[in-house]
């Protein structure tokens, strides 16, 4: 599996495909809710909560999806005006800094996910499904995935920095 590659790899495409389904499902169930409410006077109890959950999953997955192609917004103004050598060194620094953040976030998110799953945390609504436990786990996994991608970027950057100096 190659999720951390520089170009959009297979894993990224799978993520994109999966997200399209999530978004289309949100559209479909929201339309269903509006129709049920106005045409049949019987609003559902699940559409609201399920749309939030599906969107949250898509948002979480969006991080690795964007990261796989290095599309995160960054200011490259100074970077573009640097010498090739210092630019490569700076790239290593950026990736390292990102990795530190993701490492700590993975720790915090992971701890919460584990606690939530262990407690069997549920949403406490009419549906009362274990949605919080699911979302926290998905988010933690995405942070780990991001960290893994970043680590691969770091290795690539260090290689690039060493080979061409």
């Amino acid at each position: 599996m190659s999720l951390g590659g520089a170009g959009p790899g297979r894993g990224t495409r799978v993520l994109g495909e999966f997200a399209s389904i999530l978004f289309v499902v949100i559209v479909a169930i929201s339309a269903y809710e509006v129709i049920m409410r106005y045409a049949f006077q019987s609003p559902t109890i699940w559409v609201h909560e399920i749309s939030v959950a599906l969107a949250a999953i898509a948002f979480a997955l969006g991080g690795p999806y964007v990261h796989a192609t290095r599309q995160h917004i960054a200011i490259t103004f100074f970077l573009d005006r640097m010498q090739e050598r210092s630019r490569r060194a700076l790239r290593v620094f950026q990736t390292l800094v990102s990795l530190i953040f993701l490492g700590f976030l993975a720790y915090a998110a992971g701890e919460q996910a584990i606690a939530s799953v262990a407690d069997g945390e549920t949403s406490g609504t009419a549906l009362n499904l274990p949605i919080p436990a699911l979302l926290k786990s998905v988010f933690a996994l995405c942070v780990v995935l991001l960290a893994w991608q970043t680590l691969r970027h770091l290795i690539n950057d260090i290689r690039a920095a060493r080979w061409r100096t």
Binding site: S20, G63, Y107, P132
Partner: protein, 437 residues
Amino acid sequence: MSIEWITVCMFGGLVLLLALGVPLAFSTGLIAVAAALSLFGLDSLQLIASRIFSFMGEYVLVSVPMFVLMASLMERSGVAKDLFNAMRVWAGALPGGLAIQTMVAATLMGAMTGIIGGEIVLLGLIALPQMLRLGYDRKLAIGTICAGGSLGTMIPPSIVLVIYGLTVNVPIGDLFTANLMPGLILSGAYMLYIFIRCQLNPALGPPAPAAERAVPLKHKLRLMGGLALPVLVILSVLGTIYLGIASVTEAAAMGVVGTLIAASLRRELKWGLVRDAARQTMATCGMLLWLSFGATAFTGVYNLAGGPAFIHGVITSLDVSPVVVVLIMMGILLFLGCIMDWVGICLLTMPIFVPIIKSLGYDPVWFGVLFCLNMQVSYLSPPFGPAAFYLKGVAPKDMTLDEIFAALWPFILLQVMVLLLVLLVPATVTWLPGLGD
């Protein structure tokens, strides 16, 4: 450590990391983590994770991918192109007519989309070649496209207002209602500017040759059919929100349905179209949301350290009139707009600014409109104005970024003038009373 030093370290560190090219999402997050660890210890990292979870669970946030999806579908289908073509034939012999019609089309598109980017690309592909072909002044053409295309987040719906409403807890419907008039004033100001410049010097915007203008009225009216579908989508989305029939999220989802119906009536509806649009939605939302995660972590830690109270103290100790405070804030926002993305700015500054605004007796909805206008400037302002970069991607090869930015100054000036108008005459925002209830 005193709050003064915490403030300097957190914001100074952020600027430094940004300047070094660390992605915005990770810069804010790293500073948040570092500050949390050094001020409150390892356990406080849970606060960061919790803030992110609760942000992700907001129902209103679901409207963001819906609005983005709606815009992506619109851009990929021929609906927007039809709209432009329907407007184009009415330009007539008026100097600058085509640019004014482009602005009308851009305003209508702005009412269909809540984001910027796609609209600029689209206008760059269909309207720019037309204007250049007629021999329009290049600067006027560039400015029309960039400023008009940026109206996407100014004319409701607007994801800038969705995020603002979420951050400061103001009903999104009220914000949409309030923003309508200033959005139209801005678009009207652009049209007036184009009209006046072309009246003074008709060579800036020559009309189409007479032979080309001689489109039979019947044909013109048939082209107007291209307006029907977009207008229907606009009315259904904004209508449901204003009349309170459905939540913003549901209205946005219905907008997607409407766009899909429009595409299917044009026989363009294929799974490939939907999939590509959904993929783009994924990329846009992934970027936006992870930016928000970092920024919300940053503000959470800064709040815990007592930052907002400190800033509040500094501002009240200035002992100036409330209007000056608002002007100072506008200056800060304009500056940040030059170097940062609007999501980051909103989540970093609004939790600090809006409580001050409220304590000064101002309306947070009105301030949201000011924020939105500010972000209009940020799209055009160098060196990172995203509108210029979007246009550059599709512009003729000989059109440089420098040329594009140089063309945008008059439009930035117009934006600032409208900003000042709304600031000094709040009635521009509150003239639609009760509609948002």
